[in-house]
């Protein structure tokens, strides 16, 4: 079951990987543990700043002082970032919903376009993470996370639309 640890961010694995592997070695495989690990991996990706160095004894005074300002989940998210994130989420949802309604009116009802309607909410919401949970991550990580999740969701909704045509 230790292969599931590969789902965690590299920094997290470096800090807690061996301990987690040791703990996993004491437990039999179960769906519950696998789901718990997957949820933990998602949480670790969403809160990258939770990882601190292994022992305080190894840290310089400067590193300790930096940790004081960096402790806690996403501490560098300012009020402005939150406002930008909310604006992007609400504005994007309204804009995409309007676009979706317009396409329905312009081209008539289409099963696949209808199935994609939840993306009007999910896509701006994922984009808004750039200013909160994903703030400070590299552009590549942000693109992979947002683009990857948006793609998975779009495929899922299209699959639901396809199922709708079969039933």
């Amino acid at each position: 079951m230790t292969w599931l640890l590969k789902l965690y961010p590299p920094r997290w694995r470096r800090r807690y990987g061996e301990e987690l592997a040791e703990l996993l070695a004491t437990q039999p495989f179960s769906i519950g543990v696998a789901v718990d690990l997957m949820a933990g991996a998602i949480d670790a990706w969403l809160h990258p700043r939770l990882v601190v160095p292994a022992t305080k004894g190894d840290m310089s005074m400067i590193a300790r002082m930096r940790q004081l300002t960096c402790a806690g989940p996403s501490p560098d998210v300012t009020a402005r970032d939150k406002a930008t994130s909310v604006t992007l989420m609400l504005g994007g949802t309204l804009l995409l919903t309007a676009l979706w309604l317009w396409s329905q009116w312009q081209f008539g009802k289409n099963t696949y376009v209808t199935a994609l309607s939840p993306m009007a909410y999910f896509f701006p919401t994922l984009l808004s993470l750039r200013y909160t949970s994903l703030k400070g991550r590299s552009a590549r990580t942000q693109t992979l996370f947002i683009g990857g999740l948006a793609s998975v969701l779009a495929v899922f909704f299209l699959f639901v639309g396809w199922l709708g045509t079969r039933i």
Binding site: L20, E22, V33, D36, T55, A71
Partner: protein, 110 residues
Amino acid sequence: MARQDDTFNLEDFGRFSEPALLILVSLAESPKHGYAITEDIAVFADVRFGPGSLYGAIARLEARGLIEALASEDRRNPYRLTAIGEKALRARLASMQAVTRIGQKRLAPA
């Protein structure tokens, strides 16, 4: 009820607030590594957290400075309660005790 200092507040740990509290209680006895914490919690609280939940809570407690890792020669890092962690635990237990007292008083037959 007055809002506690954020450092001492475990509520904003979300789904990790319960494991975080039980980890603090476990470490109040002595420093322990992940497996020993899991076993101890299973004994005194009859709850067994998954490894993902356990380390999600440990990471939060460590980032907040409520617990700290001790140097270890093997792969298992023991953790111990810090002074701030002890204060946070005392504050949380006092708050729970007050709620318990009021609840029991209200449930008592008139």
